[in-house]
């Protein structure tokens, strides 16, 4: 992983982007017999292996009227598989110190495993993982239990102001698009076990899967692992693609009353896909606006100059279809309106003029100089590669990251923000402001 040729770094000078590019390890790619795509990154430094299996089976694929099916299918993978009852499956991982995990977002259902690389331990963990992925049993009792737990969590979420804001924001910017629909306690109770089985059959298929293997094993072993995890997946199912996004034609403000001490504010609109040609112009620009932590304009204005908020940020969340650009903050309920006005003023100025030369220089220095921190652990590399694989980004996406950042110009940023975003199309959601009725 090291780049011993770049001595200039050791002298404390700026690190040239091309040096960093060499530091990003490459992946080997192939396709399994069943048709799943595989990426393998060898890393021998620590005796462990990380695996991510990502399916196009996120919550946006919930069938109409069955919101929550994706979440239940994902949660129930570990509730028993093949000849393994639920407890035996859990014990199989625990006995060898392996950690199963996963996550679900709107696009992706991700299944993860971290295991020791020694053959006995790795082998046992993989047998269990292979069963989970390819022969989940969805036992009736576990289904009832997980449905009840999910419904309870969602009912709880409906009482918490940050979660209410999130739900309202997505509903407002996406309307009827699947990204805008959110499962509730009521919709989840309308999902039956057969719906979950059907969801699995349609979406946990080889053509919707990408397997990322990273760590202390050979290419040959990785090949066997990939086959083991995918050989009996259906090659394809009835799961479809996500429709295009019809963004809100005009913005507006939505107020939701709440008893909390702070108002929760979200502002934004759908903008960015992972493979968008404006990806770098927009994300480098956003570093200046609200992505750069303590040095961003939003933090310096709302937090440092006015003391309105502990946390204020903006980010793009790129998805398969245009994901949200989102500004967020929480502030004392009686000052929500002045804080929202400040955010809009900062955003308006940025949309009109973009960053200054100095800000762009600092943003690039930070993103390029900080690139080694994006790839300095197996965990981070796995996350990067899982995204690259899932969204079919170019093989050199990670290696080229610093160079692509370097190439961004002020004109690129101004043009991208001007063409893709507009203040009057931003939706503003405010939960718990004093003025709310």
């Amino acid at each position: 992983m090291r780049a011993p040729l770049c001595f200039v770094a050791a002298l404390g000078l700026a690190v040239p982007a091309h040096c960093l590019a060499q530091a990003a390890p490459a992946a080997v790619h192939w396709t399994t017999k069943s048709g799943a795509r595989v990426q393998f990154i060898e890393s021998r430094a620590v005796p462990m292996v990380d695996i991510a299996v990502d399916f196009a089976a996120g919550s946006a694929f919930d069938p109409p009227g069955k919101l929550g099916a994706a979440a239940l299918a994902h949660a129930l993978l570990k509730a028993g598989a093949g000849e393994w009852p639920e407890d035996a499956l859990a014990a199989a991982f625990a006995d060898v110190g392996a950690i199963p995990g996963g996550a679900l977002d709107r696009d992706r259902a991700s299944v993860r495993l971290r295991t020791l690389s020694s053959e006995g331990e790795r082998g046992k963990a993989l047998v269990a993982l292979a069963a989970m992925l390819q022969r989940p049993a969805f036992p009736a009792a576990a289904f009832e239990r997980e449905r009840s737990r999910l419904a309870a969590r969602l009912a709880e979420a409906e009482t918490q102001p940050d979660q209410v804001a999130d739900r309202e924001f997505y509903a407002a910017i996406y309307g009827a698009h699947p990204y805008g629909r959110v499962a509730t306690a009521a919709t989840v109770m309308g999902v039956e076990r057969a719906d979950v089985e059907r969801f699995y059959r349609d979406h946990y298929t080889a053509d919707r899967a990408v397997v990322t293997i990273l760590g202390d094993l050979s290419r040959a072993d990785a090949g066997a692992v990939a086959e083991q995890l995918t050989a009996s997946l259906r090659e394809r199912g009835a799961g479809g693609e996500l429709p295009l996004v019809q963004g809100p034609a005009h913005g507006g403000r939505i107020d939701v009353a709440h008893a909390a001490q702070q108002a929760h504010v979200l502002i934004g609109m759908p903008v960015l896909t992972r493979d968008d040609p404006d990806y770098f112009a927009l994300t480098v620009g956003n570093y200046v606006l609200g992505g750069g932590g303590f040095v961003s304009r939003l933090t310096r204005d709302l937090r440092d100059t006015h003391g309105y908020a502990y946390s204020v940020y903006s980010y793009f969340f790129p998805l398969a279809r245009p994901g949200p650009f989102q500004i967020g903050l929480q502030t004392r309920r009686d000052q929500a309106d002045v804080a929202v006005a400040r955010v809009r003023a900062v955003a308006a100025e940025f949309l009109a003029n973009g960053p200054t030369e100095a800000e762009l220089r600092d943003a690039k220095a930070s993103l390029v100089g900080g690139f080694p921190l994006r790839i300095d652990s197996n965990r981070k590399l796995l996350n990067e590669w899982a995204l690259i694989g899932f969204y079919r980004l170019p093989e050199r996406w990670l290696a080229d990251f610093p160079v692509r950042v370097e190439r961004v110009t002020l004109a690129d940023i101004r043009a991208a923000f001007a063409q893709r975003m507009a203040l009057e199309r931003f939706v503003t959601v405010v939960v718990g402001a004093d003025q709310a009725r």
Partner: protein
């Protein structure tokens, strides 16, 4: 279940490669600042952490939260540098930075490409001695901290339960006070309070530095000497132990807050590790926590969540090390149709089962393997390694103790686990707090925690 034996044998080779701590170095400068270095060459990055042995437990009544407020003010300028300049320079160097305050410590850290270490050391050395707390910056930042309290505690029902529980579980020891401080103290805090705190505790002889990453220890020591070495040591205030007396009966409280689900949190007074070689009980409690909640097959999930369906969530936690007294905690969310009282009784029932029947050999091995594997996985993150070293040191142990502690955990017997459950985790030494969920009534904003309703 003999799985563990070959695994542990093979891991001994992986973990220590013979000489335990061969990549660990330490030097103490003449002014008392200890510098701890772990060389880890797998990626060209470093983590730099400055630990001050001053946290919320060193505060006094009336100024609770000042340790954390000072942490915020440390980004607000020095004699040589205006507010915000610290963060600007770190960011421009591609670094990531932040800070955190605990009961036991206050920590500042940066992660960066390896060639940037000197800049980070230079910046930290400057604010170790030259901080300026201006009334204007303080007036703004104290508002930010109040927002942080609203965000993290006041509007989070389960955090309110935790805060109330700690205030009831400890009568004497300052762990009873929240790290972020009571709102009334934040509302009346002044720049002078922050300055006093800085003058009292921020000195090289009350700090230590941890660097992990792609560096040579010798190079780090030279940089440390060049930048931290010139700062003068100062006499430190006497620390009073404020020992918590043994609890003579269980305590119980209820918190009402807007929520849908009830929640139960139980804390037991417990020992913590003071002598790595001689203590036994803390290791047994660590293993017990893992038997209860170390993985998906552990007892609380297997029995209370899956089999008996009393709980939607149930966890156990115990920290082996701390400057102050120890706490063993259980918590959970009742399942639909189950009450908080039923869940409390079921959680206590799991402890009673261990006290009566002990744990199985398979459970014991599984719990230990989590620790051993966790030790391997920790090598994936230089920041996690730096944090581990610092936590040991801050708790009054040695940064060199990691492997010795792991050895001791591996030596825990089933009898020791049962004995620890019997002796320590008794109802008389516990405090239980319950969340009584209230409907969300938008027409009635929550009263601010200290001011009268208006």
């Amino acid at each position: 279940m003999r799985r563990a034996v070959p695994l542990l044998v093979c891991l001994a080779a992986l973990l220590g490669s013979g000489a335990v701590g061969a990549d660990l170095y330490s030097r103490t400068l003449a002014n008392g600042l200890r510098v701890i270095v772990k060389e880890d060459r797998r990626a060209p990055t470093i983590a730099h952490l400055v630990w001050y042995r001053a946290g919320a437990m060193d505060e006094t009544s009336g100024t609770t939260g000042v340790a954390h407020v000072l942490e915020h003010m440390m980004f607000k300028g020095t004699k040589a540098m205006p507010a915000g300049e610290f963060s600007r320079r770190v960011a421009a160097a591609g670094g990531r930075e932040n800070a955190f305050t605990g009961h036991d410590y206050t920590v500042y850290f940066q992660q960066a490409e390896r060639s940037r270490l000197e800049l980070m050391i230079e910046l930290e050395a400057d604010r170790m001695a030259n901080l300026v707390v201006s009334p204007e910056e303080f007036a703004l930042e104290i508002k930010v901290v109040q927002e942080e309290r609203r965000l993290r505690t006041d509007d989070r029902p389960r955090e309110l339960v935790y805060e109330n529980l700690m205030a009831a579980a400890f009568k004497v020891h300052p762990y009873r006070r929240p790290i972020i401080g009571w709102m009334t103290d934040l509302e009346t805090m002044t720049a002078a309070d922050a300055r006093d705190w800085y003058a009292r505790w921020y000195a090289p002889n009350n700090a230590f530095v941890v660097v992990v990453g792609d560096v040579s220890a010798e190079a780090v020591f030279q940089l440390a000497q060049a930048h931290y070495g010139a700062l003068p040591a100062r006499p430190l205030p006497v620390r009073k132990p404020q020992n918590e007396p043994p609890q003579e009966g269980s305590r119980r409280l209820v918190v009402k807050a807007p929520a849908e689900l009830a929640y139960v949190l139980i804390a037991y007074q417990a020992p913590v590790l003071r002598d790595v070689a001689k203590d036994r009980e803390p290791y047994a409690l660590a293993v017990l926590a893992a038997v209860l909640d170390g993985n998906d097959s552990a007892r609380l999930k297997a029995r209370l969540v899956r089999s008996r369906r009393i709980a939607n969530e149930a966890t156990a936690s115990y920290e082996v090390t701390a400057r102050g007294p120890g706490v063993f905690m259980l918590d959970g969310v009742p399942a639909q149709g189950r009450s908080a009282a039923e869940l409390e009784s079921a959680l206590r029932g799991e402890l009673a089962a261990v006290a009566a029947d002990g744990v199985t050999a398979a459970e014991l091995e599984r719990a230990k393997i989590q620790y051993v594997a966790g030790r391997v996985y920790k090598r994936d993150s230089i920041f996690a390694q730096a944090l581990e070293l610092g936590l040991l040191e801050s708790a009054g142990l040695s940064y060199r103790d990691t492997d010795r502690i792991l050895e001791r955990i591996r030596a825990v017997t089933a009898d020791e686990v049962r004995e620890a459950a019997r002796r320590v985790l008794v109802e008389e030494a516990s405090t239980v707090a319950t969340l009584d969920p209230q409907p969300v009534d938008p027409s009635k904003p929550q009263p601010r925690s200290t001011a009268p309703r208006h």
